[in-house]
């Protein structure tokens, strides 16, 4: 069960508390094993790509970019989790072990922070602590991580979201070096760019569109007679409540499955909407890269020349990284500003 859950990037546990429950994750040692299992296949898939297409260097570049982001996310989360919660500081309580709200004493703040990034980078979704209780910035980081949804590969789908970013990066950087952009010897033209752009649009639309719908319900129809009234959805109203809703849809779109619990989501609205987001957010991004590959494969192969931009160079890695950060940051910054960022600045004026 745990093996399937962790290695298979499935994430659904037997107990509601998932790997925070002692029977699913009894000790620090099992925690280490389970964390490694989350990452094992997704990381291996990146190398499998290089192995099969005989471009190992491309794999290293992709792995380098992914790991760079992964390490930054981990570092940020560990910093904020081990630092503790400023609100508790104010009460004069020492937090020698960091922010322990919603965490297991046997695992500790750092291990939970690491797990939170690992599980949101891959589309795993298992948890070993309550994400709802993470400090604001850590919560924001894991939401961002799922918005990017391109670190390492999910089991079965490989690096498809990262591939979309590659297509956009190839296009822009191809223009910057004065050549019609090409990837692996095939020209990237209008149709490929169109598909890649649509997928980028899709996640932005699903995540923000539905979060907007949810906030609309909360503000304008708080008393609709559903199993849980919109007024009662949020355990914590205000910014954190916003993060909860944002997290829910981001997680569905990324096929992650974890939740900022604390959201009363077992009712018609949430079950139906997240279902829709899950379906669209899962299958369309699988179809699109295959369509792009199909289009590319039908084009003439162009051998590499010194004027060709190499996609396995560090420079191109940096370019992809920049595209990932700018595209996600640009499209999600206002949402993140109203959720985690506003919460953080309110807690730390």
């Amino acid at each position: 069960m745990i093996a399937i859950k962790q290695i298979g990037t499935n994430g659904g546990g037997w107990f509601g508390a998932n790997s925070a429950h002692p029977l699913e994750n009894p000790s620090y040692f099992t925690n280490a094993v389970e964390t490694i299992s989350i990452l094992l296949i997704p990381v291996a898939l990146v190398f499998a790509l290089g192995f099969y297409i005989n471009k190992k260097k491309l794999s290293y570049t992709i792995f380098g970019v992914m790991t760079f982001l992964f390490i930054i996310f981990c570092a940020v989360n560990m910093y904020y989790e081990t630092k503790g919660n400023p609100a508790i500081d104010k009460l004069g309580i020492a937090q020698a072990t960091g922010s322990m709200e919603g965490k297991e004493v046997r695992l500790g703040a750092a291990a939970t922070a690491f797990w939170s990034v690992a599980t949101t980078s891959t589309s795993n979704g298992s948890v070993n602590g309550m994400h709802d209780s993470l400090t604001p910035i850590s919560g924001g980081v894991i939401i961002l991580d799922m918005m990017i949804n391109a670190l390492y590969g999910g089991v079965g789908v490989g690096i498809l979201n990262y591939f979309i970013f590659i297509v956009i990066a190839v296009f822009i950087s191809g223009l910057m070096v004065g050549r019609t952009p090409e990837f692996m010897g095939h020209k990237v033209e209008a149709r490929e760019v169109k598909i890649a752009a649509l997928i980028t649009l899709l996640s932005a639309f699903l995540i923000k569109g539905f979060t907007a719908l949810a906030t609309y319900m909360v503000v304008h129809h708080p008393d609709i007679n559903w199993a849980v009234k919109p007024t009662a959805w949020l355990n914590n109203p205000s910014y954190h409540g916003f993060s909860e809703m944002l997290y829910e849809f981001t997680s569905s779109n990324a096929n992650n499955g974890s939740g900022f619990e604390g959201l009363g989501d077992n009712n018609v609205f949430w079950n139906v909407t997240t279902g829709i987001v899950l379906l669209l957010g899962r299958y369309l991004p699988i179809i699109a890269p295959i369509a792009i590959i199909g289009l590319l494969a039908n084009k003439k192969f162009i051998p590499e020349s010194p004027g060709t931009l190499r996609t396995d160079s560090a420079t191109f890695g940096v370019m992809t990284l920049a595209v990932i950060i700018i595209v996600t940051a640009l499209s999600y910054l206002p949402a993140l500003a109203l959720g985690p960022i506003a919460e953080y600045f309110t807690l730390n004026p």
Binding site: V177, Y239, F242, K300
Partner: protein, 687 residues
């Protein structure tokens, strides 16, 4: 090459007027819709206009102060106008350039002649050139301006093409062969030619190019389409951002004014590149025109940037025109002085550049060249394809002959003379060093050999080196034997060569390269080049070339300069790079704009977000205004860059990408922080 650059100042006053007028004409939504990014800005402007009017009537202050809304409206309008201005200016410049070429040929009197049963009727009717139709004939004599593009059917003339090419040295054009084309507006300096009109008025290549620049028939190139799609997608993403922001803000109990929404939207969408995109494309064609190249489509210019293989003719491109005599090697037992005398005599009537160069070399060795007299005792023997030699029969019965190694050897053998081994040795050495040996005989007795060498153009090695760094493979095409070809190829630094090339060899080479996925560019002028020009991805034909060649290629070089291909490739690359870097710059700008606008939107209800206001802008209103103003003025500030193009440096793709990311990516993040802060400081003086 300063001779042929027509430089117009970037903001030529005479063009500004037209450009400004056109900026307003282009506000027409039907025209705007072609540019999705700027079209959405125009809609935003219209909304702000309605809001301002409504507010002026209702005095409702829930949307912010009236002056503030009107200011936003005006700035947005200016943003759209700036973008239109960029496009209009690029168009005006291109048009002015083309017009200056076209003007030369308007309403010149033409001496029309008619033809009956293939015989010209010598009756001249003077008509304005505009009345000439395709397949009409006209006559041009010394001092006449050629009224229309055409092909010489009879006669030979020297022509001053400086009006088109800027090159003052006259050129020779004659009926038949590959130099039979004449261009309207050029002047006949001597002799008389009969010319057949090849184009209908208004359909010449130049007319077509003007239409391309004017936009009537301008088609977006594949890369431009792809980029427009990407930009449209970014625009849609920001529509989603702004639309969803409304319920988000409601949830956070913040009211956001319509002006703020529209400002946020306009600042976030890539207006900079959206506004300059078509200007960049037109400027690319304009730059081609400035280099005296007429492109038949924008796509051709763009494809030139992608070219992998360049086919270059040896003569004129790699070597200076023709071979020159460099050395005299007398055979054993022949006095050098005597041998040079024979060489001079054999070349007296030789009008070929090679022949003349022999006389020059002799002169430089202190020989006095006997004057050319119509002496009946002397008979000059012309070169024929049969004898493959030429020479002179002197009064004293001496028969001096000069020709290729095998031709003279055959002559000598026939009369029983042997070919001296040391001369044969010399002939081989000369060939191996890329030279051409010319053997001289007197009464069929071998006297020695003259060495002719190709002079490789100074600086051509560096140009090939530059091309290699761009990733372009150069191929030399020559009629020389493989040995000579190999030598010149090595010295000049080309990557490959086709020796003893026949027209079909070029064609086959192009096909072979294309089959392996490469793009090939070539230059040609003759009718037999036409198939290869059509087959090549970029075919540049010389203006002096035949009509068939001009029809087949997708660009025409008015200067007839074979090295032009290299320039064309750079222009193409520059076009793509300018687009790419400005896109990067435009998108990178958003980071700073977010930091200006997002805190401004929520500061009232979430004071904690003040910490995001890292630029410490004065007030929410000034922050939004600064961002919108910056967004507007960056467009005209970048017009010079868009029109001139980003400098291209052949330093390899990765290095170039690094450089451009640093300048335009990182620069694009930093510049707006500074710009917005400065505008805010300025605004705070008034607010």
């Amino acid at each position: 090459m300063p001779k042929n650059k027509r430089n117009t100042r970037l903001f030529e006053p005479s063009l500004l007027g037209t450009a400004i007028k056109q900026s307003f004409v282009k506000l027409n939504p039907v025209l705007m819709v072609k540019n999705p990014v700027m079209f959405t800005v125009e809609i935003g402007t219209a909304v702000m206009f309605v809001v301002s009017i409504y507010q002026a009537i209702s005095k409702d202050l829930s949307q912010g102060a009236l002056w503030y809304n009107i200011t936003i409206f005006v700035i947005l309008l200016i943003t759209v106008l700036f973008a239109n201005f960029a496009e209009a200016l690029a168009e005006a410049r291109g048009k002015a350039q083309a017009e200056s070429l076209r003007k030369t040929r308007e309403d010149t009197p033409a001496k029309k002649i008619s033809i009956a049963d293939g015989i010209f009727i010598n009756e001249i009717k003077v008509v304005p050139s505009s009345q000439l139709r395709k397949d009409d004939y006209f006559l041009c004599e010394t001092g006449d301006i050629i009224p229309m593009d055409g092909e010489i059917v009879e006669g030979i003339a020297t022509i001053d093409e400086s009006a088109i090419t800027g090159e003052s040295a006259p050129v020779i054009r004659e009926a038949g062969g590959d130099k039979s084309s004449v261009t309207g507006g050029t002047k006949v300096l001597s002799d008389q030619i009969k010319v057949k009109v090849t184009t209908e008025p208004g359909e010449s290549f130049l007319d077509k190019m003007i239409a391309l620049v004017e936009g009537a028939s301008r088609k977006k190139t594949p890369n431009e389409i792809a980029l427009t799609i990407l930009l449209a997608a970014f625009t849609l993403i920001f529509i989603i951002v702004c639309v969803t922001l409304k319920p988000f803000a409601d949830y956070a109990n913040t009211s956001i004014t319509i002006a703020a929404f529209i400002s946020l939207f306009v600042c976030l969408i890539p207006t900079t590149i959206g506004g300059l995109l078509s200007a960049i494309g037109i400027a690319g064609m304009d730059r081609a025109l400035r280099a005296n190249v007429i492109a038949k489509s924008g796509k051709a210019v763009e494809t030139a940037g992608d070219v992998d293989v360049l086919l270059l003719d040896k003569t004129g491109t790699i070597t200076i025109g023709n071979r020159k005599a460099t050395n005299f090697y007398p055979a054993n037992r022949v006095n050098e002085n005597e041998f040079i005398d024979y060489a001079v005599l054999s070349s007296l009537a030789d009008d070929t550049p090679e022949g003349k160069s022999i006389l020059e070399l002799a002169k430089s060795k202190g020989k006095i060249i006997p004057s050319y007299r119509n002496d009946f005792s002397i008979t000059f023997i012309k070169f024929t394809a049969e004898t493959r030699s030429s020479g002179i029969n002197l009064a004293d019965g001496k028969k001096i002959r000069k020709g290729s190694f095998d031709a003279i050897r055959d002559l000598a053998k026939k009369s029983g003379n042997s070919f001296p081994s040391e001369t044969e040795e010399k002939v081989k050495t000369i060939s191996a060093n890329g030279g051409t040996p010319l053997v001289v005989s007197v009464n069929n007795e071998i006297k020695g050999v003259i060495e002719l060498q190709d002079i490789i153009k100074p600086g051509i090695q560096q140009r090939f080196e530059r091309l290699r760094k761009m990733g372009v493979k150069t191929v030399m095409v020559t009629g020389d034997n493989p040995l000579t070809a190999k030598y010149i190829a090595t010295v000049a630094g080309v990557d490959d060569f086709i020796a003893e090339a026949k027209p079909e060899d070029k064609m086959n080479y192009i096909r072979k390269e294309q089959a392996s996925g490469k793009l090939v560019a070539m230059m040609g002028d003759g009718t037999n080049d036409a198939p290869a020009l059509a087959q090549a991805d970029v075919g540049v034909s010389m203006n002096s070339g035949t009509q068939a060649a001009k029809e087949a290629g997708n660009m025409i070089d008015l200067d007839n300069d074979p090295t032009k291909l290299i320039e064309v490739v750079e222009i193409g690359k520059q076009l793509l790079i300018t687009r790419g870097t400005l896109t990067t710059f435009s998108i990178a700008n958003d980071v700073a704009k977010y930091f200006a606008i997002v805190p401004a939107l929520f500061i009232a209800s979430i004071p904690a977000l003040q910490s995001l206001n890292i630029m410490e802008l004065k007030s929410p209103e000034s922050a939004i205004l600064s961002a919108v103003i910056f967004n507007a003025i960056i467009i005209p500030l970048l017009i010079p860059l868009a029109l001139k193009g980003v400098t291209y440096k052949p330093i390899g793709a990765s290095a170039l990408l690094r450089r451009n990311i640093l300048i335009y990516g990182l620069g694009g993040i930093i510049v707006p922080f500074i710009g917005i802060k400065l505008i805010d400081l300025l605004l705070s003086l008034f607010m």
